[in-house]
């Protein structure tokens, strides 16, 4: 029988929070076999039954030719499509039997953070999301090459309108700073030359996918990270992801998301670096991360706060509630983390960022609604003296003595007990 706390930690980090039954089953199976099962994406997934959004075929129209009413109608239509796409994804997170696939999809959404607010096309956001889901566990270069040509990304960072005469630096810069290298590992000259390499990249209106417009492409000589040639965009991506700085950046990024925040020079990064450098394989990197001794250390157990999506979806899963409802997006809006709408290309910050007085209020309100909807019989059906423990089991959490004592004061009222448990510091630690 494996350490139940370690198993619960593993399932929280490699998914969106387990049910108590899932923790029981994984504890019986053991830690190593549970990691192997999490990384096995074969077989059917109940998440595939989540209703797939329907998209109105896109028709390019000049904004000036539209009346106010037409523009409002289009905005309304697009907002509905976005909402359907968000609910589809949230449903997948709660219903999946392959939680790590959905967690990796989420990780890549925070890494290659793209927002509907500029893309304005829910169908393209959906395509990008499927890209993360189908290629997010493979080779990082393959993934990054696909993301670079992904239409939502091309609209988000302006690659789609990049022309030879005046290169747009947006994608080149953010690729280096956020997607592959990290600040300090490239120069302004690298950004300017890389931007030239992506000129002429367009979205074909016929196929709605990447194409090269040769007359807008700058085919001159460029130097990127010390390598000189008549590079195209693919060459630049290749140079970036295969540089030593990128290896550290990605290893530290995965560790920071799944375990706790680290710098690229951290000893755990040194441990994982040779394995990742050998093949750029994300599955192998995630596996090595989950199996590293530090992953279940006390530093890890106290090193991450549940982000709003993790907190909301985790609570819904533990309480057996559905996620595909408008009120779930309303809750995430109040908490400041709405899927498909990150605040900027940097994604969402971690930890302290989520601990404000305003988010404390929102969590309490959401918890109060959730306990009203949930079947709390695992708590209600036991004697008052056992309810604090029963709540720990239901939510797969361990109470510190002060939290247990504080919750004990409301044990007579199971709804209040579970609501306060959901907003307790112990539960907020991921």
């Amino acid at each position: 029988m494996a350490d139940r706390s370690a198993i619960a930690l593993l399932l929280r980090r490699a998914g969106f929070g387990p049910t108590s039954a899932e923790v029981d089953a994984a504890s019986a199976a053991g830690y190593g076999p549970t990691v192997a099962a999490l990384l096995d994406f074969t077989g059917t997934d109940p998440a595939d039954a989540s209703p797939v959004p329907t998209f109105v075929p896109y028709q390019p129209r000049a904004a000036r030719s539209l009346t106010l009413q037409q523009r409002q109608a289009i905005n309304h239509e697009r907002a509905i499509e976005l909402r359907q796409t968000q609910l589809w994804w949230l449903s997948r997170m709660t219903s999946t039997s392959h939680p790590l696939r959905e967690k990796l999809t989420w990780f890549w959404h925070t890494h290659f953070a793209t927002s509907f607010d500029k893309v304005r096309r829910a169908d393209l956001m959906y395509r990008q999301n499927q890209l993360f889901r189908t290629q997010g566990a493979g080779n990082f270069e393959v993934l990054t090459q696909a993301v670079a040509k992904d239409p939502a990304m091309m609209l988000w960072l302006d690659t789609a309108t990049d022309k030879k005469a005046h290169p747009n630096e947006n994608f080149a810069r953010e690729s280096m700073e956020l997607f592959t290298l990290g600040i300090g590992n490239y120069t302004e000259a690298d950004v300017r030359d890389a931007a030239r390499a992506f000129t002429g990249w367009v979205i074909s209106p016929l196929t709605e996918s990447w194409a090269l417009q040769a007359r807008q492409h700058d085919d001159g000589i460029k130097t990127v990270l010390g390598q000189t040639g008549d590079w195209g965009g693919e060459d630049v991506v290749h140079i970036l992801v295969n540089s030593p700085a990128s290896h550290r950046w990605i290893v530290a990024g995965v560790w920071s998301h799944f375990a706790y925040p680290v710098a690229t020079t951290d000893p755990v990064v040194n441990d994982l670096l040779p394995g990742y450098t050998a093949d750029l394989d994300i599955t192998n990197l995630v596996k090595a991360t989950l199996l590293h001794p530090q992953f279940t250390s006390s530093q890890a157990r106290t090193g991450l706060i549940k982000q709003p999506v993790e907190w909301v979806v985790g609570a819904l899963r533990a309480l057996g509630l559905p996620a595909g409802e408008d009120r779930v997006v309303t809750a995430l809006t109040a908490l400041g983390q709405v899927p498909l709408r990150p605040p900027n290309v940097g994604g969402w910050p971690q930890n302290e960022y989520w601990l404000t007085t305003a988010s404390s209020m929102a969590r309490l309100q959401i918890a109060a609604v959730a306990v009203n909807l949930a079947d709390l019989s695992p708590v209600t059906d036991v004697a008052a003296a056992q309810r604090v423990d029963a709540t720990a089991h239901l939510l797969s959490v361990d109470w510190s003595p002060p939290t247990a004592a504080a919750l004990g004061r409301v044990a007579a009222n199971p709804k209040e007990l579970v609501a306060l448990a959901l907003v307790s510091p112990d539960y907020l630690l991921n």
Partner: protein
Amino acid sequence: MPSHSLSRRQFIAGAAAAGVAGAAGVAIGHDPIERALGIAGGGTSHEAAAASSASSTASLSTKDGVLVLIAQYGGNDGLNTLIPYSDPAYLAGRPTLGFQPNEVIALDSELGLNPNLKGLKTLWDAKQLAIVRGVGHADPTFSHFREMDIWQSAVPDTDEATGWIGRYLDQAGHDPLYAMSLGPTMPMLLQGAKRAGSAIPSGTLTLPHGQAMEAPFIAVETPYPNEAALAAMVGQSGTDLLTVLHAVKDVLTTQAPVVEGTNLEVAPDTTPPTTVAPGKKAAAAASGLAGQLDLVARLIKGGLPTRIYVVSIGGWDTHGNEKATQDSLLAELDGAVTGFVNAMAGHPVVLMTFTEFGRRVAENASGGTDHGSSNVLFVAGTPVKGGYYGEQPSLTALDDGNLQFTTDFRQVYATVAGHVLGIDPKVVLEGQSFPTLPFV
């Protein structure tokens, strides 16, 4: 634990803060999606003020300066904000994006305001608008994140995790009401190493289950010895929340909306969102920058002891299709700032804008401009001495295509720290001294 007795306080529901936009610039209200779905934000239904309540424990003295910071997330293009319209290099660099001399609101023979800044021109004429030019720092990075961190930390050289106000909070002692932002998340500038400012919640200001929930909530959230640092921060935000709720609600019950055109007390529509027709004018007005500033104005007028407010407006990253985007954002900024400054007439309130960087002189091929360096910022209010401060940077003596800065941004911070907040600027500026600017 909150410093004053909470249990006797009257809870009064109000949707007053409903739909204020998030500090990250996109969250709840300022938000085309929520607008298109007919949602005003995370707000819940409004209940009329039920009873008069006890007044706040501490009140603002009429002499205490208040600083209101507007974060413009994305990097506003300063050259199309304060326009060097008579410099041939301006239109040469911006053949399609540039404004013609007859389009700008001329302030003198060289510089003019963007045509959407009509309200700011009235403040300029009334000598209540300071325009600080060429603001920046050495070795700009052109990164949104790095530059926004630099502006919020006031530490340009190293990666600093605390904000310049946060470092003041660290040494000032715990006071969750001293500095507040609006919306669910809080900007880094209010984050200290040990302490942080507060974020005023959106929507209702009442705990579920009302007063009965308070004592057990405090019991769960109260930090204890040897608690993990992040867990203790969860608890601190919970106990601070009660302090903020009581103080804010006490004030809002006595203060009507003050900024024209906004009405935060309009109840959001609760009809299921996918069936609602788009467009709700009042909700949109309440949720934007004007709505945020309206709430701030009411809190100041009501005597909340808060000295620093942070509000935000996002969307300034205009790599493409800049003109339409910036025009509408500047118009929104202009209306909100002008309304707020007029509502605060006679109060010692100073409003200041900041953004992470300006943009290049030359436009790009997407009808936009790329990340640049030094920029213009506005300071406005009754105590402000209107006029230009700092030299206008040259459009031709460029540093690799970028404007050179003429005014260190920490000079601006030293000025507002010393002359608005009355704190020693060295505390927030790593012990360094910077010459102040006489705009206040």
